[in-house]
Amino acid sequence: MSAHSMLAANAVRWLAGRKVIVDGVSVSVEPGQTLGLIGPNGSGKSSLIRLLAGLRAPAEGDVMLDNRKISGFGRRELARRVAVVEQHSMTEANVTVLDVVKLGRTPHRSALSLWTGADDEIVENALVRVGLTDRRDQFWHTLSGGERQRVQLARALAQSPSVLILDEPTNHLDIQHQIDILRLVEDLSVTTVVAIHDLNLAARFCDRIAVLSEGKLVTCGPPAEILTEKMIADVFGVEAHVSTSAHHGRLHIQFLM
């Protein structure tokens, strides 16, 4: 894994048509840390993720990678540093697990350069990391949702990134697979940004949490400071009881319904 990177958004703004989706948000992730993005549906999490990944250009403000504007990076140069896992990857193509993971080497190769032994090794390591070495020849469309996300994670790792950006990677998964994916991400030493729905999982896996609402940043900080009963009531409109779990010592959020 390459050296840790620092990623920051400085007052970024993004519009879809005339509608403001992301409204002057500033967040940053320290090298090797994990930042969680939480907020209700339509709060601008996915759009902010796309801005941070350089997939969209902000109308105002800048995204900085190691204090350099990402708009100044070449496409391939950026793809060698930042890898993205989307919430739901779909394809009609009849690709195998191995085909997908090998896609991760794309930014490291020129148009006609040959596949090398080093590429093989990196792909192999990625497969080992997500525990799919014996499934390499299986077809994508025969995989479960959790397995597909693990394959996409392996593909992202094959990019050898220093920043990993995940857009609700556990959205369609059952709880076991949600934890499974987040554990894998936690064990990586890369700088990570993850949009996440489940507040308990956010509390468990993130070093810091940024709360978005209607495109604006509400607050940002360590989970214990951010995930308060008041914030949950204000932003999510839900009454909750927040306590420290006797089992794992982390925050435990109970919704009072």
């Binding site: 990944a53 997939l55 993205v84 989307e86 990857s89 779909m90 190769r109 148009a111």
Partner: protein, 343 residues
Amino acid sequence: MTPSRIRLLAAGTAGVLLVLVALLVAITAGVAIGEMTIPMKTTAAAVTNRLGLTDIAVPRIQEAVIWDYRLSRSLVAAFCGAGLALSGAILQSLLRNPLAEPYVLGISAGASTGAVSVMLLGFGAGAISLSAGAFAGALLAFAFVVMLASGRQTADRTILAGVAASQLFNALTSYIVSTSANAEQARSVMFWLLGSFAGVRWPDVALAASVVSIGLVVCIWHSRALDAFTFGEDAARSLGIAVQRVRVVLLLVTALMTATMVSMVGAIGFVGLVIPHAARFIVGPGHMRLLPACALVGALFMVVADIVSRIIIAPQVLPIGVVTALVGVPFFSVILYRARRGA
């Protein structure tokens, strides 16, 4: 290289050689079959004579039929099949739509309108050729489809836009033919619209060969970028692909190949749809192998289809589009059925 990769490479090379030999045999058969039956040996002799390799006596009339009529026809059929199959494969990958191809998306219809406009209305009056008119028409149809399908670009929206484009441009073509052509022109245009290799000559071979060769090289050059489109545009972008540039270049190349073929031999359907699917079954979805496979299999298919069109109701000739549809549709049904079971 690992032993398994060497085995793969050997299998690939053997496969390519096999299809190349089949293509050569088919082209020779295409030259041999017709009103005047010419032995394959004579065909081979006529070709090697011309290349200056041999000096075997060949009856002059047979040589004329081989050289001025049938060989050029078979070669254009081969390049045409290759170009259409390649265009279909590119469109399917780029639009992530298994049903995309020039004919379905109305690109062929647009090219027909462009060519007919030049032919009957005298646009450009000799300054622009038939193929330039077809290219303009193809681009216009492309722009129409892209505009209609813009926004949330889902598979069915693209196809619906293509249906609309086909209807519009076919109607425009019919309108131009009805209002501007005399009876004889109208008949020949309608025959050409259904697809026909009659009347192609060596200049057509040169044009088809250069356009398809350029197209093949450009497409193969972008094969890794096309692989990166597997999970859509954002995924391709996040893998470092210049999505916009790749799309524009490849759509232009596709329009150019389609327009060249349409201006020469009319709109031929189903080749662009069926061949890429067949090729994927043989070599898998990786474009580095898929694109050459499409070109080869497409060429072979079209040469054989041309032969079938000439012998099925001999001495008359069926429009080639009829043959490709009659062969293509059942074949496609099998693919659809198997894909359903496989999924």
